[in-house]
Subunit: 116 residues, 2 copies
DNA sequence: ATTATTAATCGTAATATTGCAATACATTTA
DNA sequence: TAAATGTATTGCAATATTACGATTAATAAT
């Protein structure tokens, strides 16, 4: 006998495909203006450290650190120790694979003949 | 004199640009596997009604309805009354503008020379 | 008019996310 | 070794999100 517990507030990932969950996780990592701003700043400067972002964005250091962690989790940025600070930059390989993933999703033909 | 209240748990949208907030909102609307699945099903069938999705995805009707509302909020789907049911389909114009928005973001040059 | 069908809304429970102060940790410099 | 610098972690407060049962609303069929 199998029990299925429904816990409110938590996404039912088990009913979706691997691909669907993966796409959603990618979108979620990008679904905050601070993380968009962080990526844009890293791209503009080619690289930056946490404190740069604290100055630039005006969020507290722990908040920036937390957003950096979420971007690191999907691998789109990587950090390397540089003295006392950590140099963050874009992981080009992951960046392009994310780009391809999203491009593939939006390349689906959505022509509407049946309705609307 | 200006008071700035920091309310925990709420995104500080005012410190980011219009564009950054807009992008984040778009990503957020797509940041759930159910909403990915809904879009894919609508695309595959060209159109569908809420109950189709309830059957297909195995989520409760109010849950599907809630996800449909979030997709409607960014305009990527639209619904038209069809008897007792509502026929949902992709809004091609919005779909392509979202596609272009995301493509533009990922078309930034991310070459890394300085670091990592 | 009553019943059936379909979807939206309301209310609620539980987890997730966002943000920051305080603290801990790790490396460099004096 | 001690102080300085920069970042991560912990803990907590508050809002946001996810999910569903119950109800409401709106149209179609009897």
């Amino acid at each position: 006998m199998q029990y299925i517990y429904i816990v409110m507030g938590i996404t039912k990932t088990e009913i979706f495909s691997e691909k669907q969950n993966e796409l959603a996780i990618t979108f979620k990592a990008l679904a905050h203006p601070a993380r968009i701003a962080i990526l844009q700043h890293i791209i503009k400067q080619q690289a930056c450290i946490c404190n740069d972002l604290v100055q630039e964005l005006g969020l507290a250091q722990p908040t920036i650190s937390q957003h950096l962690r979420e971007l690191k989790n999907i691998g789109i940025i990587k950090g390397s120790i540089e003295g006392t600070s950590i140099c963050y930059c874009i992981d080009e390989v992951v960046w392009h694979s994310v780009k391809n993933e999203l491009t593939a999703f939006f390349s689906q033909n959505v022509s509407v003949e049946k309705c609307c």
